[in-house]
Subunit: 373 residues, 2 copies
């Protein structure tokens, strides 16, 4: 059993997928900050209460930029599930991912949902079917699980392209049985420290959603839960970066010594977003000049006295020390890895931050110049 009381399943047929999770518990949600929000996001914001009995997700159509008809369609789907589960519509959460600007085929989704409901299960295979049904350009389903002190946290995510700070075409569903005080703050903090630091291509989608549902069966110490929840969120975020469309490498940009945390975050984002840095990473090229240029235009307070270190499972090397260029060649070998960390010290203060990104490859462009309207 994945989580006591959780049943789920999903089916994908052609481009259309439907996944359903049935679970009674408290729900916490974080949504995209894009000003043009998809219908399911608007519907949840207006409709969803603090308790949930089911979640329904479709892939293949984002139900975004679809006006009032889009919201009506989201409501129809929620109504269908509420009726089936015998609970109020305010206990149904919806999510969509896929192409923008087309009305949903509600009949097709409900017909698939009927089938999904007949196959609900409690085991990992059922969870896997749920995860696979909501994939779009994802190359693999994404899970992260933690067990401790009788508590379990299970996270499922989808997301590959269009990921940016503040989440993008990214859906994540976290289920747990934990009961803690201040769950809302712990959830928000974990979102902020993980998905909101993901940068794949700088585009922010209309549909991003993170749900956390807890059955609250097991009381647990807040600090240990907070730590484990963040681990799950970071693991999922890193999987999404790894699956960044066409990506071959995950990169962590780790900033310290900034004037303050805000400045550190500006630098982390500028470096993680730089196309020139991302292509250099793809090419195993320790092109510190591009990193320095990105630091310089980040709008943070910086000067030339920067230190720069590159690290991977192959070791680490300091390539710039307070503006002095040390070693380049060794860095090439260290960069030849699928997970690299760029550590930057600005020598300006105690500000810290990090961002999670990926490289930019010719495959990204191929994929996105063909992904259809």
């Amino acid at each position: 059993m994945v989580i006591k009381g959780l049943k789920c399943y999903g089916i994908k047929r052609g481009k259309t997928g439907v996944g359903i999770a049935v679970i009674k518990g408290r729900i916490f949600a974080a949504y995209t900050r894009n000003k043009i929000k998809a219908a399911p996001v608007l519907f949840n914001q207006q409709n969803l209460g603090e308790e949930v009995c089911g979640i329904i997700v479709n892939s293949g159509n984002a139900n975004a930029y679809t006006g009032s008809k889009g919201i009506e369609n989201a409501r129809k789907i929620a109504e269908f599930l509420a009726k089936k589960l015998g609970c109020g519509i305010d206990k149904i959460a919806v999510a969509s991912t896929g192409v923008i600007g087309r009305q949903l085929n509600v009949e097709e989704i409900i017909s698939l949902a009927e089938e999904v409901l007949k196959n609900l299960g409690e085991d990992m295979d059922s969870l896997k079917a749920f995860a696979e049904s909501i994939m779009t350009t994802d190359r693999f389903p994404k899970f992260s699980i933690r067990d401790f002190n009788g508590v379990r946290i299970v996270g499922v995510a989808k997301g590959a392209g269009m990921i940016s700070p503040n989440m993008a075409t990214m859906l994540a569903f976290i289920f747990t049985n934990a009961k803690i005080e201040g769950m809302r703050e712990v959830f928000k903090e974990a979102v902020d420290l993980s998905f909101n630091r993901l940068i794949v291509d700088g585009d922010t989608s209309t549909n991003d959603t993170v749900f956390l549902v807890t059955t609250e069966e097991k009381e647990v110490e807040k600090e240990i839960f907070r730590e484990k929840l963040l681990e799950v969120f970071l693991e999922l975020a890193e999987m999404i970066a790894k699956d960044g469309e066409g990506a071959t490498k995950v990169m962590w940009i780790d900033i310290r010594g900034a004037k303050n945390d805000e400045d550190a975050m500006k630098v982390a984002r500028a470096v993680a977003s730089s196309l020139l840095v991302k292509t250099a990473i793809f090419g195993n090229d320790p092109n510190f000049g591009r990193i320095i240029a990105a630091i310089g235009y980040s709008s943070a307070q910086v000067d030339e006295e920067i230190s720069l270190e590159i690290e991977s499972e192959k070791g680490s090397v300091k390539i710039v020390d307070k503006g002095e260029i040390l070693e380049i060649e060794k860095a090439r070998e260290i960069m030849n890895s699928d997970r690299i960390i760029i550590r930057i010290d600005l020598h300006k203060g105690n500000g810290k931050a990090y961002a999670i990104g990926c490289d930019l490859t010719p495959d990204y462009v191929e994929l996105n110049s063909k992904y259809t309207t």
Copy 2:
């Protein structure tokens, strides 16, 4: 004769190029806003007066992130030219483009400069040699010329990758004989309306520089000069976008109906910078959903009531009218052009702006993952 009193030439040998322009006149300059400025930019800012007698440019090495030794090297090169031309060092302007983080080989540059000085000429071929000597990843030299009322404006530019709002690894040299009141303001306005609206990859270089030199031989009406100067700047800016590394298309993003001009500029930049929009343009894909998503995350005040039109020399088509999706198929044919205009009306007010960009192609990634450190 290109401009009376202007002599120039340039030589490129291997990766190192040197171009020299000898001209007596008033000089106006605009530099990168990157906080980490290259040595030649810092040197000019400290050293250059209002009058000039010569400009010396090298390619192959940006002389950026080179500390006080870099500034000393820029000074040595300026001193060399000042001595040769018999003028003060405050009348020498310098510029560099190329790799960041390496000290200049001053001897090599001076030796090439000696050769260049021996070949100075007044004709278009000499100007062409100057333009070619300062190319890096450029695929073609860039010129723009206007003649009117006895006035001539000649612009030369280099720049391809690393172009962003506020200019990037972009050098432009504009020579004229015009005399007008308020030249400084006219120059700044033209930079703002052209080079500062260029977006190739969102990276901003440490070296960007625009120089305007005028011999002030010919008085001319301010309004006509302003108009022609902007034409030259826009023509050069469009050439740089066209030469965006690996680019196949120039795109203009034209915004109206924004709450104000600032909001319009935010939207223009977000759309022109979106990798998903840029790859869609490359694929002739009228993926309005990606444009709408970019408008939504631009931080401007927007809602779903947006109109969207695509135009090229093949015609124009409105694909979205106040949120209603009209026609898609015709847009594919219109997008199959090397210059397309995306017109967006936000229906919020009278704010206007534009940005000049290009598509993103697999070649961009290939080129930039191999360009050396």
